[in-house]
C-alpha cells in the first residue's frame, strides 16, 4: 500500500473489495489480420459492450491522403449506409499540410483519417460504444498519427468524432485510402470487444 495513505483512506470508511463485487474480466480479441487496399472485416461478434479497432492504414502512392473506415458497408469499397451513418466531424493537422484537411457533415459517410505512407508510421485507434445495440445511438471517436519518414519527414495527427444511428448494429466495416493502394506487407487491423459482455 502506498505509504501514508492508509489512515487517510480509512478515515472515509471501508470500501467494498473487488472480490466482493465479483468482477468479470474485460477485453476479448476478435480479429487480427493483414489488410490490403480495400479490406473488409465481417461477422464482428455481437458479444461485448464496446468495440476497439487498432489499424495501420497506409498507401503507396502519396505522402498524404485520406484514410477511410466505413461501417456496415457490405463490401470492401462500400460506403456507410444511411441506416447507420450519423453526424460526424474530423480534423487533421500535419507538417506542410496545416489544418486544411477537415470536414463535417450531418450524415457522415465515413470515419476520415489522415493516413500514412507505405511502411512508415501510422496507427489509428477507434472506439465505438454500444456497437452491438439496435436501440441506442453509438458514439465513436478516432485518433491517429502518421507520416513520419526517415528520409523526408512529415507528421500528421488526426482525430474524428460522431455517432452512428440506432436501429442497426455494427456487424462489418472496411478500411482503405483514397488511393486504394494499401498493401498487406504493412497494413494491419486488430479488433477487440471491451466493456464486458452483453
Amino acid at each position: 500500500m502506498a505509504g501514508t495513505t492508509t489512515a487517510a483512506r480509512m478515515a472515509f470508511g471501508a470500501v467494498a473489495s473487488s472480490e466482493d463485487m465479483n468482477p468479470e474480466y474485460d477485453w476479448e480479441m476478435f480479429v487480427v489480420k493483414e489488410a490490403g487496399g480495400y479490406e473488409h472485416v465481417q461477422n464482428i461478434p455481437q458479444t461485448h459492450r464496446n468495440l476497439r479497432i487498432y489499424a495501420h492504414n497506409s498507401q503507396q502512392s502519396n505522402w498524404y491522403g485520406w484514410g477511410y473506415f466505413n461501417f456496415n458497408p457490405g463490401s470492401g469499397s462500400g460506403s456507410t449506409p444511411s441506416n447507420t451513418a450519423g453526424p460526424g466531424q474530423y480534423n487533421a493537422y500535419g507538417w506542410s499540410q496545416g489544418t486544411s484537411a477537415s470536414y463535417s457533415n450531418a450524415m457522415n459517410p465515413a470515419v476520415y483519417d489522415g493516413c500514412g505512407y507505405s511502411n512508415y508510421g501510422h496507427i489509428q485507434v477507434i472506439d465505438i460504444f454500444n456497437y452491438a445495440s439496435t436501440s441506442i445511438e453509438k458514439p465513436w471517436y478516432s485518433e491517429s498519427q502518421g507520416g513520419v519518414g526517415n528520409a523526408t519527414s512529415y507528421a500528421i495527427h488526426s482525430w474524428a468524432s460522431g455517432h452512428f444511428l440506432p436501429g442497426v448494429a455494427i456487424t462489418n466495416f472496411n478500411m482503405y485510402t483514397n488511393y486504394g493502394s494499401g498493401s498487406t506487407s504493412y497494413n494491419r487491423i486488430m479488433v477487440y470487444g471491451w466493456g464486458g459482455k452483453l
Partner: protein, 223 residues
C-alpha cells in the same frame, strides 16, 4: 505483479425513457491503479423555457460531495476546480476553466454532452465520456480527467470532440485538502437543467444509455 488487468466493476443501463437524469458509482474500490468510468448513449432535450440552445452538461461531483449523508461528512464542495474544451473541426475551439471560491462557488465538474439541447428530440443525439481516475491510494490530490464526444443529427455543426478535468481545490481549507487527497470514493453524473427540475421537461438519459466502471490493476495494491 497481478495477472489480471481489466475488470468490469459495475454497470448500470438506463431501462426506460424520460425517467433517469443522474447516476452515481458509489463505493469505488481502492485496490485498482486506474479506474475508468464510461458513459455512452443518448439524451432528451431540455424543454424548460430557459433552455434556448445552450450547451447541455453532465454535472459531475466526486467524493460523496453530492450526498454527505452517506458518510456523515460534508466537504466544502464550493471549492472545486475544473476545465473543459470542445473542438469542432479546426473551428469553434472553445474552452472554459474555473476555480470556485466562497463568493463564486462551483459544485461540479462540467462535461458538455450536447451543444444545443433545445432542438427536436426527433433528431438523433449521442454522447460518450471516458473518465479516468488515477491512483486511488496515492497521497496526491485527486483529479478526474476525461475525454469524449457529442453530436446531434439536427446539424453537423453540433459535433464536438471534448476533453477536460475536474477535482477539489485543496487550497480551500484543511477539510477540503484531506478530502481531495483521499481515495476515490464516488462519482455522480447528472444532467444539468434549466429552471426547476421536472421529470417531464428536464433532460433525461434515453433507455439503453450505459454507465460502466472498469478497474485496471497494476501491482494489485493500488497506486
Amino acid at each position: 505483479m497481478s495477472s489480471n488487468h481489466a475488470m468490469i466493476l459495475g454497470e448500470y443501463i438506463v431501462n426506460q425513457n424520460n425517467y433517469t437524469s443522474s447516476f452515481t458509482f458509489a463505493s469505488i474500490p481502492t485496490d485498482y491503479d486506474v479506474i475508468e468510468i464510461h458513459v455512452a448513449g443518448s439524451l432528451t432535450r431540455d424543454q424548460d423555457s430557459g433552455a434556448t440552445g445552450q450547451t447541455q452538461y453532465l454535472a459531475c461531483s466526486i467524493q460523496d460531495t453530492h450526498d454527505p449523508s452517506s458518510t456523515g461528512y460534508t466537504a466544502d464542495v464550493s471549492r472545486m476546480h475544473m476545465s473543459w474544451q470542445t473542438n469542432w473541426r479546426d473551428q469553434n475551439k472553445y474552452s472554459w476553466a474555473w476555480r470556485g471560491s466562497v463568493a463564486n462557488p462551483i459544485y461540479f465538474g462540467y462535461v458538455p454532452v450536447n451543444m444545443q439541447n433545445n432542438g427536436s428530440d426527433t433528431a438523433s443525439k449521442a454522447f460518450a465520456v471516458t473518465f479516468q481516475l488515477m491512483g486511488p491510494n496515492s497521497g496526491a490530490p485527486k483529479q478526474v480527467f476525461w475525454r469524449g464526444t457529442c453530436s446531434d443529427s439536427n446539424a453537423g455543426s453540433l459535433s464536438r470532440k471534448t476533453q477536460g478535468c475536474f477535482g477539489l481545490d485543496i487550497q480551500g481549507n484543511t477539510t477540503v485538502r484531506d478530502w481531495g487527497k483521499g481515495p476515490w470514493r464516488s462519482l455522480r453524473m447528472g444532467l444539468s437543467n434549466y429552471g426547476t427540475y421536472n421529470a417531464a421537461t428536464s433532460p433525461t438519459f434515453k433507455a439503453g444509455t450505459v454507465f460502466q466502471m472498469i478497474g485496471y490493476k497494476g501491482s494489485g495494491e493500488g497506486w
